[in-house]
Amino acid sequence: MSNLNDRLQQFKKNFESGAAPYNVTPERVAMMHRATAELKASGIEARALKIGDHAPDFALLNQDQIEVRSRDLLRQGPMLVSFFRGHW
């Protein structure tokens, strides 16, 4: 198994090269880089919850529309929470 960030960087390289199927232009690549730089500069990383903070409780629907509660998960042991942007 290759590591995740190697795979991500490989994808990024292909994407930014402008090759098919994305055919992205250099102007658009520059725009995306600018957005990431602005987001970093906004200080969001420092404002997010960090080690030692209490994680908010949640009760959310899963892919089968069944409610899942963080408290029920934590009763079984530690919980690994990953925030994901989406499928697109």
Binding site: T36, E38, I44, L61, N62, L74, P78, F83, W88
Partner: protein
């Protein structure tokens, strides 16, 4: 890619008595399709309107120029998320212990960099070991 990588560590995570859960702002009809396609052993939860991501301090709004760019790629987030504002969470991964305390946090504003699952697994092992033999 990240979900597939988490799938690879899922058996080891379960062996440690822990659970993986993924929060995404997408509606269930989209998470359902993705969940099925990837054959995921853990849940994807719909964090509707980013309510929980907000409490974690992870939400940002797309600048206008980026919104137009993503629309041109066919990513219409208003439809996927049921909201007109283009807001997203920055990628983040947390380990929360049984008491609800955050024991590991990895937040990166650059969405092309993700926490390495092998590192997350290492931290989880360390946590479980510490809890067992304080």
């Amino acid at each position: 890619m990240e979900l597939e990588a988490l799938k690879e560590i899922d058996p080891a995570v379960r062996e440690l008595g822990a659970r993986i859960v993924v929060l995404a702002p997408e509606l269930e009809r989209y998470t359902r399709a993705l969940h099925k396609k990837l054959g995921l052993p853990f849940d994807i939860l719909t964090d509707l309107h980013l309510k929980i991501a907000e409490q974690f301090g992870l939400v940002f709004t797309f600048p206008d120029y980026l919104r137009d760019l993503y629309k041109s790629f066919g990513s219409t987030l208003d439809r996927f998320h049921d909201e007109s504002e283009y807001r997203l969470p920055v990628p983040a991964r947390y380990i929360v212990d049984a008491s609800g305390e955050i024991r590991a946090a990895d937040v990166n504003a650059d969405y092309t960099i993700r926490p390495e699952p092998s590192e997350t697994l290492r931290l989880l092992k360390e946590l479980v070991r510490t809890e067992r033999d304080p």
